[in-house]
């Protein structure tokens, strides 16, 4: 399945707002992170959000999920 992944902060400035990522059906967040790292779409300390909430590595990604890479935040 192809999952659009939202990017923010330095990843957004380098790679744009959103990139399509190819994943096997039933892939976990952990698997997604491996793919993102191999494509340079990751920064130290980043977390993955699924449907607008931080997700653990074991979380299974569904086709329709809203997926985002959240670099360390700097609000406040």
């Amino acid at each position: 399945m192809t999952v659009p992944v939202l990017l923010f902060a330095s990843l957004r400035s380098k790679h744009g707002d959103c990139v399509p990522v190819e994943l096997p059906a039933g892939a976990t967040v952990g698997a997604l992170k491996s793919v993102l790292r191999s494509q340079g779409l990751w920064v130290d300390g980043a977390r993955v959000a699924v449907n607008r909430a931080f997700a653990t590595d074991e979380h299974t990604i569904e086709q329709r999920d809203e997926v985002a890479v959240i670099p360390p935040v700097s609000g406040g």
Partner: protein, 147 residues
């Protein structure tokens, strides 16, 4: 009151939103844009957010604080361009007693700074950086993150 807003923040409006005759104390924290951080001068900053998730996280933190300290709370963050001295964020908590009000207010700003997906891009005299937690990432263009 949980808000992300492009317009200037009015801390008094936020404090008033928490008023009531049952609260003995209200603690309010205002985070402002500094002109100088370390040795780096900042001329302006731009805050961007993953807005729907940021609001969801702010609601979650507010609910936690409200339950843990029996507090009425507010979390408001500004987005877009700000100048030094402008208020970027306000957290506030009204409780029966002051220790709880301080604890809840502090919790909200600490958790916001750790977990709410908002980022600051700083523009100085000769460079621009995006902050990611404690680290800064230089960006080449003057383009604003996410604009």
């Amino acid at each position: 009151m949980i808000r992300l807003q492009p317009d200037p923040i009015d801390p008094e409006l936020i404090r008033r939103s928490l008023e009531g005759t049952d609260a003995g104390g209200v603690a309010v924290f205002c985070g402002e844009v500094r002109a100088v951080t370390g040795e780096v001068r900042t001329e302006r900053v731009v805050y961007t957010a993953y807005e729907p998730m940021a609001l969801a996280e702010m609601e979650r933190l507010a609910k936690q604080a409200a339950e843990r300290w029996n507090a009425r709370v507010a979390v408001v963050h500004r987005l877009g361009e700000l100048l030094p001295g402008d208020i970027a964020v306000v957290t506030a908590a009204a409780c029966a007693h002051r220790a709880e009000a301080f604890a809840a207010c502090r919790f909200l700003i600490e958790r916001l700074k750790a977990d709410v997906p908002i980022w600051k891009q700083e523009f100085g005299p000769d460079r621009s950086v995006i902050r990611e937690g404690e680290r800064t990432v230089e960006v080449e263009s003057a383009d604003e993150v996410g604009e």
